[in-house]
Structures are given as structure tokens and as C-alpha cells.
């Protein structure tokens, strides 16, 4: 259409307009998120642990002497009896092998985060692709992916991990990949597919097709963005389950990791202090409380994100 002379009033920059829109939507969603309260609580806990994780290397290179405070090979020469109860120098005491518990706790926080976020990212990338592809193509693609999902869901994750760790030494990275693959091809994929099914019947998918958009364009531009809020939600829940599985596996001594919260409890257990909680509380509580807190923090964030993306749940 080349006949209209009137110069349309074009905003100086499309990108600026987009940026404004994006920032507006972030602001609005943040507002909703804040209103849920529990989400903020979750965020605060996560922030606290993030701070601990970041502070650890700083402390190690400044005030904490590595010989004493190293979470794995350190030894509290200043204590006479191990495990030592909390003191000024060791605020959370030491473990049966004479290592500083606070240092262990902070050191592990980082790997817990990395583990959780990696597992979640893998889950979401796989789950979103599986959901979108199965719903969009349907037919045999759908059938194969869903049968695969059935297998993944039926497999008891913990026992698979036990077998695997016996076969190949499983570390944090492998664990994260495993959890991500299991849940991405499994439950998360199925949930996202059912969401995608309600997207693929929308006429705007037809509109994109009739514009000439290919499969890739339609999946990437129209289906995936409509799944993202839900995927993000599942990301939070995966973090929770990843941290929890890690704790269980380390506690069972099945993971090939240097230090983690689960391993801290495992050490306590193998040294025979597990049943004397009342006397040696500092051996159990810091680690188990951290596992519980961080798991529930991600869960709380997920719950309140749920309210942000599902207006129906919102209490006005």
C-alpha cells in the first residue's frame, strides 16, 4: 500500500517502546508477586543463602585461615575435643572430623544453588520443548514423547540414582542433568504439554501459519512464550526437588561430592552422633534446617508465581 502520504507518527525507537513495555510488565508482575507476601519471604531466604554462598570465598581469603577453616581438609587445631560445641571462633561448632560447620554450610550453599538451578534449567528447557513439540505436531511424535514420559514417571528416581551412582560416580553436575532429564521428559513435560494443547487450538496459531510461518517460528514465537510462565513455575519446584534428592543421596553416601548439606548429615551419622541430637544439636540442625529452608523458599516463590501467572487463583 503505497498511496497514503500522511507520514505516520512513529515512535523514535521501537526498542525504547519495547523496553518500556517490558519494564511495565515486570513492574506489574512484581507488584502482584509482592502482594502474595509468601513469595517475598521465600525470596528473602534465598537471598540470605545466596549471600552466604558468596561470602564464603571472601572469608576464606581474608579472615579464615584455610588450614583450620577449609570445609573439607581443614582441622580445628584450636579445639581440644572434636566435635566441639559452638564457640566464638567456630560459631556453629565443628564436626566429628574437626572441620568448621559454618564454613561447610556456606561452602555447600553454592553447590546447592548451582545444582538446583542447573537441574531446573535442564528440566525447563527439555520440558518446554517436549510439551510444545508434542502438542504442536501431535500424531506419532506425540505418542513417542508421551510413552517416553510414562517411562520416566514410572521410574523411581531415587533408585535409578542409586543404581547409577554405583555404576558411574555421580557428582553434582551429573545429578543435576539426571534430575533435569527425568523430570523434563517426565512429569514437567506432560504438564507443559497439556498447557500447550490449549494454545495450539487457538486461531492465532492458524494466523501465523497463514502468514507463512514455519514450524520453528510458530513453536518459538507463539507456543513457547505462552508456556513460559508455567515452565518458570515448574523451575522453582524442580529446584526444591533437586536439593532434596541431593540431600537424600548424600546422606546415603551415594554421591561422589566433596561437601554438601546431605554429606554433613552423613558424616554425623557415620560417626554415630545422629541419635544424640539433644547433645550434639549443632551437628544436625544447621544442615537439615538449611535443606528445609531453601527447599521451602523455592517452593514459596513458586507458589506465589503461580498466583501471578494464574489470575484465577488470585484473591482480589
Amino acid at each position: 500500500m503505497a498511496t497514503v502520504n500522511a507520514q505516520p507518527a512513529v515512535p523514535s525507537s521501537v526498542w525504547r517502546a519495547r523496553l518500556r513495555l517490558a519494564s511495565r510488565s515486570v513492574r506489574e508482575n512484581w507488584g502482584l508477586f509482592v502482594r502474595t507476601r509468601i513469595g517475598l519471604l521465600g525470596l528473602a531466604i534465598i537471598a540470605m543463602y545466596a549471600l552466604l554462598a558468596v561470602a564464603h570465598p571472601v572469608l576464606m581469603s581474608t579472615v579464615w585461615e584455610p588450614r583450620i577453616y577449609d570445609p573439607v581438609i581443614g582441622y580445628a587445631f584450636d579445639e581440644t575435643k572434636q566435635p566441639a560445641p559452638p564457640s566464638l571462633k567456630h560459631p556453629l561448632g565443628t564436626d566429628p572430623l574437626g572441620r568448621d560447620i559454618l564454613s561447610q554450610l556456606m561452602f555447600s550453599a553454592r553447590s546447592e544453588f548451582l545444582l538446583g538451578l542447573l537441574a531446573a534449567t535442564v528440566t525447563v528447557v527439555i520440558g518446554t520443548s517436549v510439551g510444545a513439540i508434542a502438542a504442536y505436531f501431535g500424531g506419532w511424535v506425540d505418542t513417542i514423547l508421551m510413552r517416553l514420559a510414562d517411562i520416566m514417571i514410572m521410574m523411581p528416581a531415587i533408585s535409578v540414582l542409586i543404581v547409577l551412582s554405583a555404576l558411574i560416580g555421580v557428582e553434582h553436575f551429573e545429578l543435576a542433568l539426571l534430575i533435569g532429564i527425568l523430570s523434563g521428559f517426565g512429569a514437567t513435560g506432560v504438564v507443559l504439554k497439556s498447557q500447550a494443547l490449549s494454545v495450539v487450538v487457538k486461531p492465532y496459531i492458524d494466523a501465523a501459519r497463514s502468514a507463512g510461518g514455519g514450524h520453528f517460528h510458530i513453536i518459538l514465537v507463539h507456543i513457547v512464550p505462552n508456556l513460559l510462565p508455567l515452565s518458570f513455575l515448574y523451575m522453582m519446584f524442580t529446584v526444591t526437588s533437586a536439593i532434596f534428592s541431593e540431600a537424600v543421596l548424600s546422606f546415603l553416601g551415594l554421591l561422589n561430592v566433596r561437601m554438601s548439606w546431605g554429606l554433613m548429615i552423613h558424616t554425623t551419622e557415620s560417626a554415630g552422633y545422629l541419635l544424640q541430637v539433644a547433645e550434639f544439636w549443632w551437628l544436625i540442625f544447621p544442615a537439615s534446617l538449611s535443606i528445609t529452608l531453601l527447599c521451602s523458599a523455592f517452593y514459596l516463590v513458586g507458589r506465589s508465581l503461580d498466583e501471578v501467572v494464574n489470575p484465577r487463583l488470585r484473591s482480589r
Binding site: L21, R24, E28, L197, S198, K202, S315, R316
Partner: protein
Amino acid sequence: MTTDPVLAVDDLKMHYVTQAGVVRAVDGVSFSVERGQSLGLVGESGCGKSSIAMTLLKLLPDNARLVAGSIALNGIDLVPLSEDEMRPHRWDRISMVFQAAMNSLDPVYRVGDQIVEALEAHSSSAGRDAMERVRELFDLVSLDPSYILRYPHEYSGGMRQRAIIAMALACEPDIIIADEPTTALDVIVQDHILREMQTIQHSLEMSMIYISHDMAVIAEVCDVVGVMYAGKLVEFGPTADVYARPIHPYTRALMSAFPSVRGEKHELVTLPGEPPNLLDPPGGCAFNPRCAYATDECRTTAPPIVKRGDQWAACWNPSDE
């Protein structure tokens, strides 16, 4: 008809906050609807008709602000009510056929089940009774009962619209707001549904607000008609009077050049000028840039109300024929 109005709206103002500014979609609207009466709302696309409807049900998007006014339903003001207090009124007493009718069905549930759910949430009928009622309703809107157990995407556009009409009628409300309910329907089905709705309306003394751009349908269905322009009512009165002797120049423009299937095929005329920008509506009378009779007063000062019998209009230069 009693003199007690079912719905009385007074000086209602509802604005949308957007990044480009404030859209004055409903800008001081007052009217009332009596029991058993049907009110037609007409006006240009984007002038705020649906916004009024959504405001009456208080189903507003997050960026909407109910700035002022009152909405009295059977004497109860809905404006200060909370969402929980509002819920019992919705569907039971005031229900709506949305303009987006075609997409207010949930794609993953069968249509019949959705109506049954609505019925069960709002009345005592359950199970077999409810299904029986759905059959009745489907019959009412000329849908074949075999469609009760099908999914929305298996319906054609018009069928979905009819399912939504059925749902709105399900609870026999005091007042029903129908926002372009028959846009996707052929004239025969439209005729049937309008007749059925009028029958229900008379037998139950139900009131109705009927939003449409189809002047012919309004003429057939409504007792009174309100003409909107740029978020305001500019003319209001009994349908026969408004159609026979429109006061406001905008109403006159609406009435002329109506395309017809019957008689001579005459040239269609468009209203000159552009639709008003609600972000920054023209001063004085919002219609002045497009009005053939506009004077200086029209450009600066809001127009006065001119009355003629039951009919009124907001205009500086009313037609006095």
C-alpha cells in the same frame, strides 16, 4: 412495569491507565433500566460500550480505575462491594454475554459440562436436572443436543456464541447484558434467538442491556436506546422517538446511510474525519471536529442537555424538527 429501576447508573467514570496516558473509556454516564425493559446501547467502535458493560459487572482488567459514580442494582450499590460480596450478584442477578463470547469457553472442557458447572455453582439443580436444563437451553438457542458433549473448537463461531447466550440465560438473572451477542449469527438464527429472548424477558420480567452496532436489531429489540460517543452518552430516549426524530447530529449521522438489502442501492456515506482519540478527546463537545453544525461554543464548552419529552441529547445545536 414498575417505576423502581432494576439498575440505576449515576455519573459512572471508568478510566484505563496505559503507558501513553489515561483512556477515558467511560466518562460520566448516567442511565437507568426498569424491570422488563430493554435498553439498547449504540455507538462507534471503541467508544466505550463494552467498558460500561464490564464496569457494571465489575469485571475490570488490572489497569482499569473506577473513578466515580454509583451502580445501583435493585437498590444496592455495587461500587463499594468487594469481589467476594460481588460474586453472588453476578450470574444470579446480573449476567452477561461477552463480546468475546467465542473465547469465553474453556477449550479443554466440553461445552455442556461448562454450562452444568455454571448451573451447579449458582443454583440447587444438580446432575440429571442440570443436564435437562442444558438441553432446554440448547433448544432455546437452536443448537443441536448432540453438541452438548463436544469441545469448543468443534463448534463454529456462531455456535460458540449461542452456547454463551445459553449460559447467560441459565440462571434467569434480573438483568442480562448482551454485548453484540449475535454478531456471528445468520439472520434466521438471530431472529429465532431474539424472539426467544424477548419471550423469556416478558415471562420473567427480565431487563436487558443490548449493545450492538446494528441499528436494525436495536430497533426490533429495544424499548429505549442510548447513543454513545467518546465515552459519553450523547442521546437517550424511547427507541421510536430517537429513530424518528434524532436530536444529536451524531445520531442523525448514524441513522442516515444505513445499508439495506431492500429497495434501491444507494451510495454509502462515511462520517468525515477520524474517530476520537480517547487519550486526548477534543475539548467541549467531543463530536465537534466531525460535526457539520459545530460552532465556537462546541469547541470550548461542554454541551447542555436538551430535552424533548422522554428523549434528551447533549448538544449546543440540536435539531429542532
